[in-house]
Every structure is written in structure tokens, then in C-alpha cells.
Symmetry: C2
Subunit: 229 residues, 2 copies
């Protein structure tokens, strides 16, 4: 049976989004606060960074996450003369993110089931690698993949297809797990099975294609995916 | 001579972005504040609305602005039991926006030069029409166009091409005027001449293709466009 929205299949591999899904952005917000940026700057900056990256992608263009993030951050620092210094400091915090409490268990569940996990981010693979190593999670992830590999940002289809190709599984046997509805939507449009953890967004915006599996955290979502036929 | 980034031609028609370019979103923010939403909610919500709309567009999907905006707003109102009421109230404020101080003069400049102006928004044409009428500006605009007309959001090429087709001018004789860098980038990629007013964003993010004409306000931008060969 082919996977359909009504009949998603048990995935043969799982790709995890990185920022906010595996690792919280708290340390980035702390740097912003320490530099005197107002409360709410992290959420606004991250939303605008994705807005700008998606606009580039939608119009057929590609720039790496760090460039888009830095250019967007400058727009929040207009009146300052230490923009470069603050930008380097804030962006440097991406190497110091902390994993969410549900990550190790979710990855271990997959390892126990013999199902390979990869990461798939619009950010840099080297950052994902470093974070996983630092937190003793690297052995639970087969490979760190990025939009950079194909020079196209999620949620266009190419990065999801790249992950399926790398893992040598059909798209409908690869699951994308994320806390962002836009990522779920893009993965679904690319033919993947999808699992959305609600711990960031709370409710799934009904303008996006719904996830196949929903749960409050990554462990519940992985259990739901493993329970598929 | 064909228009190139080095040699943009004097436009035969001008399309204006609407939200934040012609009309400030202040009344929307006031409604949010009156409903007890925290400071910064307007900027965060608008950035996330565009992020979500662009994600839909990038993955080949279309939903009208109001649906995307309402679904995104719900994500900021999770703990409340009056979500629908607040959402209707906040979105209703889009019919009550005020024009920026430079709008009437900029439109009059074009009328005096015999160059037709249209509006081109990801929002609804009826909202643009109503706002222009309410503020005595409707006669200065030939037509109100929208992403809805082609069911594709800016910054994909189709809406810009739709505006050129409607005005019966080649893309490189149509100018797009906006305060958003992402809109300038999309228009440029679609072959239009572009004019960016810096009054919202301050500096133009270098990840986007630069505008042909830049100025602090719409009047200066229009003067710059009219001064092209």
C-alpha cells in the first residue's frame, strides 16, 4: 500500500529538524539580553530570519542560514555602533544550544528499534554535529544533513528529497519530525511521513497540511511513528 | 536597451505594496494592546504571518492572507478563551489603517507625470480599495491587484507578472515600490524595476538583490524612478 495522508507507513528512517526541535534557542536569547536587546528580540529575529530565508527560497535564491540570520539581526540593531560584535556574539551562541529534555529518549527509542536518525536543518551541518557531540548524542544520529547540501531551504521539496536519497529510502518511508508546522507542511508536500511535537507552537495552524502523528513531545511522536503499520 | 541591474529604465507604470508601504499597521497594534496582548505582538505576528505565507508559497501551496494571518494569530492567543473574538477584532483593523504621510504626494507625483499606479498586495484587493477610498486616494490608483488574483503569494514571480500583464507593460517597464526588502528582491527576480523606501527597515539586508532606487520615503523613491532614462 502506498502511503497516503490516511495511511502513512511506519518510517524506515527519521529526519529531525534541529533548531527548536532538538535544541532550544535559550542561549541565543540570553546573549541578546546580555547585549541589551529588548525582550522578545529572539522570537522576532528568528521569525524574520525564516521569513527572509523563505522569501529567498520562494523566489529561486539561496543564501546560507548564517548570512540570512546576520543580515536580519542587523535590522534589530540599527541604532548601535557595535553591530558586528553583537552579531558575532549572538550567532556564536548557536554552538552552545542545549538539547530539549525529550531528545535523548526519543533518539534512543529509534536506535533500539533499529531505525536510523538523521538531522535536517536550514542551518549548517557542522553546528548540528558539534551540538550532538558536545551532548553525547552523536552516536544516536547517523548523519547531519542541511539545506546547504542542496543549496535550497526547507520547506521546498529538495532538502527532504535529499535526506531520502542519502538514506536510500523512498520519501514515503522517511519521517520528518519537527516542532514547526511549516516544516511538517513542506515535508508532507514532498511525500514524507510527518510527526509534529506541539511543545513549541501549541496548536497546529490549520492553513498547513496536518501531521500524520502529533504529540506533546518528541518521545510521544516517535512512539506514534513506530506504531504505524 | 534592455533593463539590467546597471541600467534600469524609467517605469511606464508603478505598483505599490500596501501593508506598511502605503498604510501603517498602527491600528492593528492598538487593537492588540486593547485586548491585552503584550508589546511587540504586532511585529512578531506580522513576521510570522509572512513566514507562514512564504512557507506555503515555497512549497507550492496557496491560502488567502486572512486565513494565514488568523491561524498565526491563534498561536499568540493560546491561553485565552476569546480567541475568535480577538481575532475578528484585530483582523478588522486592517480596514481602518491610516496612510503614511508620504503616500498622497507620491501618488500625486505619478499622476502628474501621467504614469499609472496600481496596488499589489498579498492581502485582499477589497481591503486596499476600501482604504484608498476612505482616504480620498482612490482616484490616484488605477487598479487594486492582489496575490489572490493569481493564487500565488509574492515574492514568487506570478503576482508581479500579473501586474505587468494587467497594465500591458513589459516587466522591465513596471516598477515595484515597497518598504520590504523581500518584496524588492522578488520583484527584481521577476524582472521589474524596484524602488525601496527605507523608513521601515532602515538598512537593506545584503542577502537580497538591491533596489534600483532607494530613498528615505516614497516621494524620494518616486522622484528617483521618474529620473531614470
Amino acid at each position: 500500500m502506498r502511503a497516503t495522508p490516511e495511511h502513512p507507513r511506519r518510517p524506515a528512517a527519521v529526519a529531525f529538524d534541529v533548531n527548536e526541535t532538538l535544541f532550544g534557542l535559550g542561549p541565543v536569547g540570553e546573549r541578546m539580553a546580555a547585549r541589551g536587546m529588548p525582550g522578545g528580540s529572539l522570537d522576532l529575529w528568528f521569525a524574520r530570519t525564516l521569513r527572509n530565508g523563505f522569501a529567498l527560497a520562494a523566489s529561486g535564491t539561496y543564501r546560507p542560514f548564517r548570512e540570512v540570520a546576520a543580515a536580519t539581526l542587523r535590522g534589530l540593531l540599527l541604532d548601535r555602533d557595535d553591530v558586528e560584535e553583537v552579531s558575532d556574539d549572538v550567532l556564536g551562541a548557536f554552538a552552545e544550544l542545549e538539547p530539549h529534555a525529550d531528545v535523548a529518549s526519543a533518539l534512543q527509542r529509534l536506535a533500539d528499534a533499529g531505525i536510523p536518525a538523521v538531522t535536517l536543518t536550514v542551518g549548517a551541518s557542522a553546528i548540528s554535529e558539534g551540538l550532538l557531540e558536545r551532548h553525547g548524542l552523536r552516536d544516536l544520529v547517523r548523519e547531519c544533513l542541511s539545506s546547504d547540501d542542496v543549496e535550497v531551504w526547507k520547506p521546498l521539496a529538495a532538502p527532504y528529497e535529499h535526506a531520502a536519497r542519502t538514506l536510500a529510502v523512498p520519501a514515503d518511508r522517511l519521517a520528518l519530525v519537527a516542532v514547526h508546522a511549516w516544516d511538517i507542511h513542506g515535508a508532507r508536500r514532498a511525500g514524507l511521513v510527518t510527526g509534529w511535537a506541539s511543545r513549541l507552537e501549541g496548536t497546529f495552524p490549520e492553513v498547513f497540511d496536518p501531521p500524520d502523528v502529533t504529540g506533546p513531545d518528541l518521545v510521544t511522536v516517535i512512539d506514534g511513528l513506530l506504531a504505524l503499520d
